[in-house]
Amino acid sequence: MSVNIGGLWLKNPVMTASGTFGYGEEYACYVDINRLGAVVVKGVSLNPRQGNPAPRIMEAPFGMINSIGLQNPGVKAFVTDKLPFLKQFDVAVIVNIFGETVDEYMRIADALTQADGIHALEVNISCPNVEKGGMCFGTDPEIAHEVTQRVKSVTHLPVIVKLSPNVTDIGEIADSVQAGGADAISLINTISGMSVDVENRRPHLKMVTGGLSGPAIKPVALKMVREVVKRVSVPVIGVGGIMNASDALEFLIVGAKAVQVGTANFVNPRATMDIIDGIEEYMMRHQMQDMRELIGTLNEEEGLC
């Protein structure tokens, strides 16, 4: 079941999605971390961040909305306090990073490249760019290109760029981060959304809006993943609403080389294990030996009658 993501070999295509698996500790009693394809940790910034005021989450129809606000201890504390736990395991560790300026991205990438036990970086470009008036890095092809290129310039680690779905043309963004040197592309991050408590006429979240995740967004994620797979040549990692093996298989079949499991971990902390088992069972049943017999084998000629 192994796959190669931009030079990094994973024992299977199932990773955790950033922000839904902490730094691994909370799941150690539910899952065998050694069995994971990779652990993608909660997003790390240059300096510690407190995150947003509560309430931060709300259930949505078949999903949830969050405005955690990227709470994290900062890159230094991550390396000293959090990374050692993950180093105990035989698992690829991918560190999700984000900054408010291009320079911040570079400095975090640089700090992580010095550290030991990190196998790849995932660059979250769905956050507001303070230099450019708070506009999102991931919605402008040129800025996305620049961030990618700069991060690449300071690290020898494989660089995965994680795309925001809140754009008109995801293919264009994918193209530009590939041109910027991305070794792989992951998508999608959450879709902007909100909800309202009608009895009190107040938003459910203190920050009013947040990011929608979970099964509700799966059809959107799958469509965007297919679009990006058709557009770029680097490996694509599918994320969005994966709850079980069947959901993961949808992404692999449209051409993702790996998947990330996010919100599902909250609902079923053993979700990743169930998904790995389920993909194995599917491949056996369909007599497939290699992931290549599965990935990108969608038969588009015939919709199912």
Binding site: F21, K42, A54, R56, I57, F62, I68, T263, F266, V267
Partner: protein
Amino acid sequence: MNRNKFLIDGKITVNRRLINEHYLMTVVISDNFPKPLPGQFVMVRLKGRHEPFLSRPFSIYQYNHQDDKVFVQILYRVAGKGTRILSELKRGAILEISGLHGHPFDILPHASNVILIAGGVGVAPISYLASHYKDNIHNTDMRLSCYLGAKSAKHLLGVETLRMSCSSVEISTDDGSSGYHGMVTESFARNVAAYPPDQSLIYACGPASMLKRISEILCDYPIPCQVLLEQRMACGFGACLGCTVEVKGAGEMKRYVRVCTEGPVFNIHDVIWG
């Protein structure tokens, strides 16, 4: 690795309405389900379904080990969509339960006055805590006093169970239909001066407004007080960072802590009331 963390199936044996929108559910669990400490909670969802989507947090109301089975009781109020669906489940429905989550109440075996204050369905963890004191703490000098509040006599929950554990149960109802006419906090306030702060200890669970009022009362009476807070939760075990509340940090600093992990039990003086 925490041996107390599990993800397990439970089967509903009883799910019946007590009064108004309050239900009592008994779940039988065939496997090892460790005895919860008071204040700990479980995350519950209907197995194999996604409506509601997230699991719901509930305190333990009662726990019994019989033969090789565990019977857990949850006392709950229908507060929205998830609890409504829960209330419609029939005997035999399978739940997926994760636990044991949260930092429990601190137990003080040598206190003289243990004061319990419960509002509404907050009686669930308070009642479990009272049983714990009764069953495990053999201190003849200890008095367990409970203040129990509800809308009306008809809304009173768990009085019998509490009477079995406590030396006294003071009832308050908003409409005066039973016991003290008014809020449970005011019933407590009438007696607060009688409790020596250094030999007393308060546990409280109920609506945020009730807890906030207690913190005000305690400005003048520095009795230690532990409160059980509620917050929306996605995971219940510390991973999502969704359930934070603001507490006082070092100096003037505020910080966000997770209700599911650093809580749900907090020192009342640490909480910053919104």
